[in-house]
Symmetry: C2
Subunit: 414 residues, 2 copies
């Protein structure tokens, strides 16, 4: 205990994150199973003994090389409770736990950041979701990326632009980078600054232009109705990127619609159709020449609390509906209500791709479409790729972490 009290530097945390201490601990009370911390700004936070014990950062709990947990709580022999607790000279919390008799220290910045007793919705998205129609958004929020690929990846400028782009992407579901090189493989260079791609049977990078023996309507010059890509998978790709290399064709304007705004409007105007679309599983299928992807899912997926999780809308990627006989007509009534709603003109943003534009959008939320273009009228060439939303969130957290390290290094916290 003397040893713990004598500490003058803060203890490690069970992660590699940066936790500035912007508010100090003031005092600690406890009973066997709950600690109550008071902070100098008046906040009161409570933590369970079992939660603290499992989240300690010492070598009995985490592997110091990886900071991954090695403790199996059920091996302690008894529920971990508090024998004693206090604050030390470094401003850290120390707790002596039964049955081990082990004293462990906790970092106040980390405790504050993980204060579950005062948290709002712990599963809230990293960036709040803003649904939109074509009235609020006539085009994607656009950032000038003319210098970006020339900047060092970890420079403040490059990180700043990337952070803004990823925040817009998570909030609106779409962002446009402008003035990138109009060169093949730019989409790969941009993606590499975020994380790995998700390859599919269409390749790692796919070229959207009319081609012979097309294996998808996307590779023709016909109009494509509003859709998400690859709803034929258990988990359709979270993100799609489309980069414009050439666009001199007549027609082929891009159309985007916020699928969550569609779902919300349907819930309001046709609640029975909405309910049916969240419940009945449709068959999504691409029974092509050399592959055969099939998945069953409702068109609108909500979680246990009714919050929108994803939409799967793509008339040309639906196989035969296989469901209970008496569900078939209600399912089609609901589907047609959705199809009619998708034609409401105020929903969509419409825009033209310029060479060097790269649009990133959430493929589990946004619908995209394309007007027909005239195959002989000029060239239209987009390169696309998929990525998971996990990569965006991880990358954005790293941008934010770097900002926190800067606050620590500049002495403004911790």
């Amino acid at each position: 205990m003397t040893d713990a009290l004598a500490k003058t530097s803060l203890p490690p945390t069970p992660d590699y994150d940066a936790w500035p201490v912007e508010v100090a601990l003031h005092s600690v009370d406890h009973d066997d199973r709950v600690l109550t911390l008071r902070w100098t700004d008046g906040r009161v936070s409570r933590y369970h003994s079992v939660w603290l014990r499992e989240n300690a950062a010492d070598e009995s709990t985490v592997n110091p090389d990886t900071r991954e947990r090695i403790l199996d709580l059920s091996g302690l022999g008894a529920w971990p409770t508090v024998e004693a607790a206090g604050l030390d000279d470094a401003g850290a919390l120390w707790v002596t736990f039964r049955p081990e008799g082990r004293t462990l220290r906790f970092h106040p910045g980390w405790l504050r950041a993980n204060d579950y007793s005062n948290a709002g919705d712990p599963e809230a998205p990293l960036v709040p979701v803003t649904t939109w129609t074509g009235r609020e958004r006539t085009a994607p929020v656009t950032l000038d990326a003319g210098d970006w690929l020339g900047q060092a990846e970890d420079s403040a400028e490059a990180e700043g632009l990337l952070g803004r782009a990823l925040e817009v992407l998570l909030g609106d579901g779409v962002v446009r980078l402008r003035r990138l090189p109009a060169e093949p493989d730019t989409v790969r260079r941009v993606a590499a600054r975020v994380g790995p791609l998700r390859p599919t049977n269409f390749g790692e990078i796919f070229n959207v232009r009319a081609k012979p023996e097309p294996d998808s309507n996307a590779y023709t010059s016909i109009a494509l109705p509003l859709h998400v890509d690859l709803p034929t998978r258990e988990y359709q790709p979270g993100l799609q990127m489309l980069h414009c290399l050439e666009n001199t064709a007549v027609g082929g304007q891009a159309v985007m619609v916020d699928g969550f705004a569609v779902a919300e409007r349907l819930r309001e105007t046709e609640p029975a159709a909405y309910e049916t679309l969240t419940r009945v599983s449709w068959c999504f299928a691409n029974t092509a020449r050399t592959t055969d992807y099939v998945w069953h899912s409702p068109v609108i997926r909500v979680d246990a609390r009714g919050r929108l999780q994803e939409v799967r809308i793509a008339d040309f990627l639906r196989g035969p509906l296989m469901t209970a006989f008496e569900e078939v007509e209600p399912a089609y009534e609901a589907l047609m209500a959705l199809q009619r709603l998708l034609r409401e003109p105020d929903l969509a943003m419409r825009f033209d791709y310029e060479p060097g534009d790269l649009v990133i959008f959430d493929n589990r939320r946004l619908l995209h479409a394309r007007d027909a273009f005239e195959g002989g009228s000029g060239a239209r060439w987009l390169q696309g790729a998929y990525q998971e939303r996990d990569e965006v969130r991880s990358r954005l957290r790293m941008v934010w972490r770097a900002e926190r390290w800067q606050r620590i290094d500049s002495g403004s916290g911790g």
Copy 2:
């Protein structure tokens, strides 16, 4: 109509699949909205007019180049109903639909395969899932793949082995291929016969051996407790492949447990813990030096009908639990019940990797573990990769489709 009745060859289907006609149509009745078909084996099947209209295969419904749908049902002007219907000389069903006055033909093999009025569970897995413990499975079902990579990919032998392997994988959640080359990149060659890999921040192919500055406990020589990989993602990879290149180290035996068997036993023995683990979201996190993946999910995920969807078990990849204060102690009680259950020795299969072994397992269902090995005692080198289960199902459907084409070509159907 005369034209339709005169047809002597079967119409196309709205896909590229093979549909042998093994039972012929006998007769058809209809009212406005439902057709009733009788087959020569006595089966009676019913189809809704709206379902038939949307699943036609003519050029008003599908793009003939891609066989993807171009019809928007809600654009027909009225609910499609039946004006007339019959069977033609080729054995196909023809239907004249209102309001279009269009006569469309349907392939009897396709109708039979998509007979939703007699289907069991349309969302049943492609191969029935067999849960197991170490009593039923002391090692993975093992296939001799000594000649496989030397055989042409589309040869009957190669397809036969692949089909058996994928069926075992989907049923048991694990399969072992033996006598593959003990050469680097074999895992990539095997995967390429199924579909694209799923790269992660650990690369496309990862090497499991002790390394300096490990970014995961996997890359040390310590024991790894039972876990799934990457529960820190929205959607943890569906499949993992591990290929053994060298194994002369002392220790390091592989351990596998069927996570669905674990969940079922917990549901039986500790129903309250089971219920809590299906409901409360835990935080899965890998807050590493250069990446920061976080996802919230229950440990056991079930669908709306209570069927097991996936397990997320990995003590070393859990971040701080962030949930309602009063849920924390019940959540930890349930977690410890699960931890104790995982130690029951009859659950696990244990086996040693031999060079040339490649084990493929379902990473959303199976848990894997590794005993500690002695870093200095010899070499232990596995190469691993992830893939999605979608690829396995698509590939297995293609194996089955090839078998159906063979039946058609040999004249035994269609």
